[in-house]
Symmetry: none
Subunit: 125 residues, 4 copies
């Protein structure tokens, strides 16, 4: 899918982010089996060791669970997935707020601009 990686973050984290996205969007449901390390390595065109590190990372964060001889599975703990979604949300909000601040907008203007944009969009659709 995404062929190139950013230089700002380690590749194994970027792969984790990709997989987190799939969970949040529901492409990977709680309990689903992730692709094998080797499959995943092929998909992202990276070394299997890199994917292994990604899976380790995700396991440390309790987002996936590895079952010996069976594979790696998305956690069935909805709370973990909820937290994941919340933290992704926070990242996007922070990025948005940061950029708007750099452009010199106040907090009130941010909310107002967002509201304005959404209102404009609704009437046009």
């Amino acid at each position: 899918m995404t062929d190139k990686f950013d230089t700002s973050k380690p590749i194994y984290k970027q792969i984790a982010d990709q997989l987190y996205w799939r969970m949040i969007r529901g492409e990977l449901q709680p309990g689903d089996k992730l692709p094998s390390v080797r499959e995943c390595a092929v998909e992202f065109k990276v070394n299997p060791n890199t994917v292994a590190r990604t899976y380790n990372e995700m396991e440390r964060e309790k987002v996936v669970k590895t079952k010996r001889g069976q594979g790696t599975f998305v956690t069935t703990d909805e709370n973990v997935l909820f937290d994941l979604k919340e933290s992704m949300k926070k990242i996007h909000i922070e990025e948005f707020v940061h950029e708007m601040e750099e452009m010199g907008y106040t907090e009130e203007e941010m909310v107002a601009s967002l509201q304005e944009y959404l209102d404009g969009r609704d009437t046009n659709d």
Copy 2:
């Protein structure tokens, strides 16, 4: 400054974006002289031709004005700079809305989440 460029957009456009940012943040004021094509090429570590293309692009968009033999200058037309700021704002809002939608949030939730985040930040400061 920023050393690497994204693969998603041509470099000459990314350089334009960088310079637009400097204008919006006030680092480049109306009427200011931009660095020369050759200086800019050194700063961004690209070929001078690439910067020349950037300057052409910016001139077509009326954001800068070149004076033969003297250099390239930020337009003194405040309206153009205002439009620039508005369009940058719109881009960020669109990106934010798009990502929040991909995560499954409704418009109301976006505004509420943003408000919540800002409120939380204020009490902590």
Copy 3:
């Protein structure tokens, strides 16, 4: 075809003018495919980059449309082609008027001379 270029205008603009002429004269109809950048470079004996710049210029002016991997095509928007013809007409009238003024003729004399010339031609044919 035309082998030499004027020194007064950049080559890439002169190539655009040549192609505009072909459109106005109907040698290139709306929707027709232009010669490829490389073919055109051979025809005009210039570097392909120069033709690429010409095609870019024409696309910015909405006179042609490029389809990725297929080629560059004359716009089907008749209005654009009409505007093109009008602007070419204006250029020729301006040039004519300018030269006649340099020779000291009044506006009335210009029209009268033109009319006279045309009348003389008709009776001879």
Copy 4:
């Protein structure tokens, strides 16, 4: 002055055209002395032989008269200068008509367009 010559006509004729222009515009009056062949050669950056050929040509056309040991002078015969002006006028009209015809305009449209252009110009000035 003009440094480059067109490749379409011999240089000596192009120099003659330049000098004819000066006569028509009154920079060279009837009876005036033309610059010497050597001066003229310096001005146009060509070989003196080329200018000599120009002067010969102009003498054959009765536009100038050479007086041994004194130089070359514009004819005092107003008729010749009138004819010169007429022939220059005709050249411009022919060129204009030819280009308008190539664009597909009828004779009536040419006159109307010219009149229209002049009228528009008058009201704006």
